[in-house]
């Protein structure tokens, strides 16, 4: 178990090798073009970047902060990214860059709003489908940190494995391992819950 987690952590932290052929290099080039346009004053270009990467940021936040806070944080993160876009050196690496901003912002949120989190977690929706989804989401977030982000991006945001790899900057192999091991652990938890 521990060995599995360690391997998964290692894989999660393995960035995509630059020498490996980029399967979606066309998208990368689109990112670079958009970032360049925004830096030259095209504000609408940043709107397109937001449309492309908002699901990624939403998924990352959903695995770390309460659901009620996610939408506002997504807006804050993109506004922060807009202000700091000139600090991005590799324009094609917009995805990994904004993913890192989202992770850091989630950590800041927990430092500042620890008490508020407990209150908002108790707020339940009357919608049963939402309640069920929230329960499963809690199960996923209870998984080791190496897996829950990838699983949420796959199951909640509907992204494929290659998309997750490209947008987060991880290698496809590490995303694949994280997906399969995370899914296996989630199945075990779900079956255990159904049996009880």
């Amino acid at each position: 178990m521990y060995e599995c987690e360690a391997t998964a952590d290692l894989l999660l932290m393995t960035p995509q090798a630059k020498t490996s052929p980029a399967p979606e290099s066309r998208e990368t080039s689109i990112e670079a073009v958009l970032v360049k346009a925004v830096l030259e004053g095209d504000r609408e270009g940043f709107g397109r970047l937001h449309d492309l990467y908002a699901p990624l940021v939403h998924g990352i936040l959903l695995s770390r902060v309460p659901r009620a806070e996610v939408d506002d944080l997504v807006q804050d993160i993109f506004l922060h990214a807009f202000k700091k876009l000139h600090t991005l050196r590799d324009w094609g690496a917009f995805g990994p860059w904004i993913a890192m901003i989202a992770r850091n912002r989630a950590m800041d949120f927990h430092r500042r709003h620890r008490e508020t989190v407990e209150v908002t977690e108790d707020l339940r929706s009357s919608d049963t489908s939402i309640n069920k989804a929230t329960e499963i989401l809690e199960l996923i977030t209870g998984l080791p940190a190496a897996y829950h982000e990838t699983l949420i991006l796959r199951l909640v945001e509907g992204m494929t494995g290659p998309e997750i790899a490209t947008r987060t900057g991880l290698t496809p192999a590490s995303v694949r391992v994280n997906l399969h091991r995370g899914m296996k652990l989630l199945r075990e938890k779900l079956s255990f819950k159904e049996n009880t």
Binding site: V38, F46, F78, I136, V156
Partner: protein, 190 residues
């Protein structure tokens, strides 16, 4: 095959994964337009290359000017070193013919020999190392010049002796002692 569906949604669908997708899909991101405030301006990356280029050019120009100034000062200092004045020869006393006759025949007051004014070294006669050259070496004279100098010296001594005798005589006359110099006589006697 089921693994492929989890990976890229290809192949045979996994019913359990599909069910999870349906349930969790309710939490999916709902697109919202991003509202960027008008006063929020994206900063441009600062390009320091022109500033660096200007600074480097300025530094290089300063260095070149410094080197040029040093080379120029060395060039101007080199002739000074070469033009260090030779030490002036010792003043020679040349008695004029009229003075010689006065000293030997008339026993009159002989004028003092004219000594040419000593040449002072110019202020710019400083060597490059900042040390002042103050060499007082003996003048190089030929044999004829040495002989002439010896004669002039003898004549000068003679003139001084004559002048001294005349001054003694005047002193005796003014003191009213017309006789011989008693002191000298006493001295002679003693």
């Amino acid at each position: 095959m089921k693994d492929d569906y989890l990976w890229d949604k290809s192949g045979e669908p996994d019913p359990e994964v599909q069910q999870l997708e349906e349930i969790l899909g309710t939490l999916r991101y709902q697109p919202r337009p991003l509202e960027i405030p008008d006063d929020l301006i994206v900063q441009r990356r600062r390009n320091y290359f022109p500033l660096l280029a200007i600074a480097a050019t300025f530094v290089i120009a300063l260095l070149a000017a410094g080197l040029w100034y040093r080379a120029a000062s060395q060039k101007s200092a080199a002739p000074l070193e070469a033009q260090v004045e030779q030490p002036a020869p010792a003043p020679t006393v040349q008695q004029r013919p009229e003075d010689k006759t006065l000293a030997t025949e008339n026993h009159g007051p002989s004028p003092l020999p004219r000594v040419p004014p000593r040449k002072t070294q110019p202020a710019n006669s400083v060597a490059f190392n900042g040390k002042r050259h103050n060499r007082a070496s003996a003048p190089v004279l030929t044999a004829a010049q040495e002989k002439e100098a010896e004669e002039a010296k003898a004549q000068l001594l003679m003139a001084l002796r004559v002048a001294s005798e005349k001054l003694n005589l005047v002193q005796r006359k003014t003191q009213g002692a017309g006789g011989p110099n008693q002191i000298r006589n006493q001295h002679k006697i003693g």
